[in-house]
Symmetry: C2
């Protein structure tokens, strides 16, 4: 009996349940900024300012917050060097690296399919603008 349960659901968790803690994980990793940061760090260690430049458009505040969250969830390591000026390096943990393939997959999908998406948008927007036109 317990075997069948194990076969049906390998984990007792369920992202579709809003009370399940996995939802919080989904919230963290299914996030634009998290994806971009993780992907940058998958190429190697970066300092705060480097990371900021590498992820165009992110504000200092959002970068700080996102890094804190990623660090708290064990995806990113923060190493501080007590020098003047201060030096802080961010890198992926093993757990963070285990997300590498997914994160790259997401970015690649976006780059590979943007033209299809834009084409779909054009069609959709045209249909929305003049829905009556189709009938006449």
């Amino acid at each position: 009996m317990s075997d069948s349960i194990l076969l049906e659901t390998r984990y007792p968790w369920n992202v579709f349940n809003s009370q399940c803690p996995t939802r919080q994980v989904l919230d963290r990793i299914a996030d634009k900024w998290s994806v971009l940061i993780l992907r940058r760090l998958s190429d190697g260690t970066l300092r705060f300012a480097q990371l900021r430049r590498a992820v165009d458009g992110i504000s200092q505040k959002v970068l700080t917050n996102t890094l804190r969250g990623l660090e708290r969830d064990g995806l990113v390591t923060r190493r501080i060097y007590a020098s003047v000026p201060p030096r802080v390096e961010y890198s992926l943990t093993d757990l963070g690296r285990s997300l590498g393939g997914l994160v790259e997959g997401i970015c690649c999908w976006a780059e590979a399919n943007i033209e299809r998406v834009e084409a779909a948008r054009t069609v959709y927007d045209l249909a929305s603008a003049a829905p009556e036109g189709e009938i006449h």
Copy 2:
């Protein structure tokens, strides 16, 4: 010459550039609700109310908005049956189905690694609460 360019970057797009349209795609798919909806629809067509129940915690407004966005971007099809009461079915397009593996990967990663994430959080929160304690 053009060959080397093609080899270096297969696409002229770059998600790290905030002006690049691929950022908008990333915004769409690197989103908690989009991921959950796409994953549900990858198992088959669903009506609006079914989808709402299947994605626990989503409000009607957010579901509507997210579905519109996914439809506009060509990931989801909306089929309307002019019956009483009205019947609206949502399903994935081919483009949406091409995201299936990634979407499933994200959800599975969350379910498979939640315990590691929670363990990391415990460590992080303890260290933040009493950082002086380590020295004594």
